[in-house]
Amino acid sequence: MKTYMKLAWRNLWRNKRRTIITVSSIFIAVLLSALMKSMQEGSYDGMVDMAVKFYSGAIQVHKDGYWENQRLNNSLRINDSLIDALESSDHINFYTPRIESFSLASSENLTKGVMVLGIDPERENQVTKVKSKLVEGVYLDQNDEGVLLSAGLAKYLKLNLNDTLVMLGQGYHGVSAAGKFPIRGIIKHPNPEFNKMLVFMSIGQCQMFYSAEGLLTSFVIMVDDYAKIPKIQHSLIKSINTNEYEVMNWEEMQPVLVQQIESDRQTAVIFKGILYLVIAFGILGTIMMMMSERKREFGVVIAVGMQKFKLKTVVFLETILIGFVGTIVGVIGSLPVIWYFYKNPIPLSGKSADAIIEYGFEPVMYFSMAPSVFLNQAITIFVFTAVIAIYPIYYLGRLKVINALRS
């Protein structure tokens, strides 16, 4: 095998220019695909983080049917067995209770629909780090009677710190809800959509406002490792009464986001497929040329006693080696480029930025350094060079020693 490897390696370099061109084309394909993949995975990570870390958490527990029909009437009553289940589950870093609903908010002569989040200030901060997003004023106390406004909303309603927010809505069982709340602080939520419509209240205050004493809409759970989400979800489902409660992970709660990522991935796969196909045909052309140039040489070695399968091994190795060298060069060349963008995400501006904000995401292009970014390219190239290697094997299979010698 060592001899074959040596032969293959030397053959690879017998036409240096051609090999360098082939290797460069693979290098470019790997670089482009890795960059693209890195950018995609980076933005997905950003999107998921945005959705999970700043709002939904990894897993939520609701009253059964709440997610389908998000009304206060579908809320759950705090009880010990549920708390026990959450407390005793491994891998749950933090969890926090919430009561969420909609309402109308107004200042002197402006009105807007808002999303009211009744939170346990301490616990909520552990899960979604709201406190760090405070840009003005102070954070809520445990039983605070004031509210926090998202910056966009405050701006829209032309309200400042210590002004009063008036809210009108419908409470539990259709009871009308109304109240006046002093503004304790302004929060800049990284999700631009949310930034336009969030009102935070202490949970007690919120329950009072909605006449929903002792009720919650959800428990929001944060885990240390996203990969463990299915396991944790599963164990929670086992330990609580699922006739009464539903346990959902972020993917189930945000199917649109998941779908968006999936379809984006598929578009990219098509693009990369075309790119790799072009490269693959380039390699195939090189291999075909190389085979016909070496026809006589193949004739000689078979004549003097080399079995065809040994010769096939050599040319197979050569083909794989071209891909291998190209991949190595490609990955090594891509690493610093992607590392740079990983460290320096690209801020977006203009129309594309607006579109991204429209979708509720941060207008920044993040890059990922996940191993899959590089591994995917390596595997792809290995697979298609292995497929291309069928050609020389087929060629040698059909080669007649006498014809090869006469060429």
Partner: protein
């Protein structure tokens, strides 16, 4: 004792379209230690005949026994192994693997035979010395002259310890001095080591060295003389 027996050998190319009767009814025997030239004008069937002797091409009719083995009855795989162990080949040109050095080219065939490293190295040195190339061990073919390349090819052909060596116009691409030099070496190997050589040529100076001259004409044996 005959090492090669050829009986009623025929070769017809393109039998279905434009049949060319390249070899027509050749009967010949070769003994161990011969130094035989196959001569004849271009197109007389020399290459066709030697290719069949070497198991590279199949006869249309007739049979070839080498060491009492009918080589035409061997499977492709077995034929390749048979060639490796019994026949040495020297072609007109481009005999060598360009990416291997002289030494590696000679070793190559012993590698295929699975001989030990020690064995290979010893014999390679011996053989390259025998063809006066002891100083070119690590040189690749493109850095060797045509005559030197043919001498490496002879060394390689001998490496497997074959029963005989087939050489189709080994001097055709060489200048007269290199040709004479190659012939001298072949002759010496024949005389001193009893290596059997069967070669074709249309160079009279090469023919003069042969001890048996078989003349082909239009695919038939015109004469077969011991000199």
């Amino acid at each position: 004792m005959n090492i090669i027996e050829v009986k009623k050998l025929h070769k017809i190319y393109d039998q279905d379209t434009h049949p060319v009767h390249a070899v027509r009814g050749v009967d010949l025997n070769f003994k161990e230690g011969e130094f035989a030239a196959v001569v004849g004008p271009s197109g007389s069937g020399k290459t066709t005949f030697l290719n069949m002797l070497g198991g590279l091409d199949d006869p249309t009719e007739g049979e070839i026994m080498i060491d009492s083995v009918n080589i035409n009855e061997l499977s492709n795989r077995k034929k390749i192994n048979f060639r490796m162990n019994h026949i040495g080949f020297v072609f007109q040109a481009y005999n060598l693997i360009p990416v291997l050095t002289a030494k590696e080219n000679v070793e190559f065939i012993m590698h295929l035979q699975g001989r030990s490293k020690h064995d290979r190295e010893l014999r390679t040195k011996e053989l390259l010395e025998a063809v006066d190339l002891a100083d070119k061990l690590n040189v690749r073919p493109n850095k060797l002259s045509g005559g030197q390349q043919q001498r490496v090819a002879v060394a390689r052909a001998l490496a497997s310890k074959p029963k005989f060596i087939l050489a189709d116009e080994p001097t055709a691409n060489l200048d007269s001095k290199s040709a004479a030099n190659l012939l001298e070496i072949m002759e010496k190997l024949n005389r001193e080591e009893h290596i059997t050589f069967i070669f074709s040529t249309h160079d009279q100076r090469v023919v003069d060295k042969a001890r048996r001259v078989i003349t082909l004409d239009d695919g038939m044996i015109k004469s077969d003389v011991q000199v």
